[in-house]
Symmetry: C2
Subunit: 227 residues, 2 copies
């Protein structure tokens, strides 16, 4: 492989990490805006979506350009194709941050119906899943990617618990229904962020296992040469 191509693949990896940082910040700032009742921060998340969308297009074009110019085979081709998918998933994670920020601006117009404890917890798990899936990607760490996939049940459980509690608030006082519904929607957005992190982790496992298979084939070649 050309040395220049190796540098370009490294550049792609760096760009995806930057994209992940932007997407994760979108969710994290939207949740901070909600918890701290800070509408200005929520508005900044909404305004920041433009940058994330532009960066997605930039990374996508970079991938297409690499495919066209380098005509990569097997492993590198699979890697670039997966990078395009991960890029797309990260953009969607950013969109969920925007959804949460929009709900937050609505919610802040009225008093909060309850202290938020489980939603920030769910947000922390979802964001850690995003981070770990990308770290697994960059550090070629299958085990880290696998830990992301295994947290799915934990997320479902916490999301169900949040919805259950909010439904009981709605049942007791019909005046909080609209606000409780907004919090349920935020919980669903966080659940989707976790789902997208799982998609990314599965993609990472797919690339790394393809690499492993390739690696085993090479070992077989070595054995064949030795015999």
């Amino acid at each position: 492989m050309h040395r220049r191509f190796e540098e370009e693949l490294e550049e792609l990896r760096t760009k995806l990490l930057q994209m992940a940082t932007l997407a994760e910040a979108s969710v994290s700032n939207a949740m901070a805006a909600l918890v701290e009742a800070d509408a200005a921060t929520a508005q900044r998340v909404i305004d920041g979506d433009r940058e994330i969308n532009q960066f997605e297009v930039e990374i996508d074009s970079f991938c297409i350009e690499l495919l066209a110019r380098r005509q990569p085979m097997a492993g590198d081709l699979r890697f670039i194709a997966s990078a395009m998918k991960i890029n797309n998933d990260l953009e969607r994670i950013g969109d969920h941050g925007v959804n949460i920020a929009e709900r937050t601006i609505e919610l802040l117009k009225e008093p909060m119906i309850k202290p938020l404890i489980d939603l920030p917890k769910l947000s922390a798990i979802a964001r850690e899943m995003v981070k770990n899936s990308l770290d697994g990607f960059v550090q070629h760490d299958v085990d880290l990617a696998l830990t992301v996939c295994r947290r799915d049940d934990e997320v479902d459980h916490l999301n169900n618990q949040i919805i259950h509690e909010l439904v009981s608030f709605m049942t007791r006082d019909s005046r909080v229904i609209v606000r409780a519904l907004s919090l349920i929607m935020i919980s669903k957005n966080l659940e989707r962020v976790a789902d997208l992190a799982t998609n990314i982790a599965e993609e990472v496992i797919y690339i790394l296992e393809a690499r492993t298979i390739k690696h085993h084939h090479r070992e077989e070649d070595v054995h064949r040469k030795e015999n």
Copy 2:
């Protein structure tokens, strides 16, 4: 371009149409199960997701194989990369069908809280958007793809109307809260199907406009030769 490669691109187009048919059927059958109170149909939608997932992997592998074997340039490369994204969006549409089917099975355990009129209407619009985006793709029809993007407001309006009505049901009778919430979630699923159809339509416009630009370049070449 090799004749065989042309046939392979045609095969990819056909596969995506089949994938779209499966994804659309997932949503359409899930909604039929809800409207006709037919749990067996809902269960078949859930069981059918395996086939959709397998088909997604098959199409994805076919795209990677085409990229590796044909090393396509410019337009064909862009087309195959877009096909991979559309394939992914279609798989997610199938997932929303499954979500609706799962909610339906829960909902059918208790009496329906109201006759369903707007939800089937929203479902019809969302499915038509999926169909039109794919037809735009196959028939190289930018205008058809543009009509899909323009229906976004209509979908948002109908979704808001559905949520507004269900919230008023919840407010009047707390016993229907859980069921109304399930219907709201189904409405959100249908809204997401429409969003994914819009993603596909945008991808189609992107491919076709790249083609147009390429086409203009060719025309310029012709002019240059004539002068």
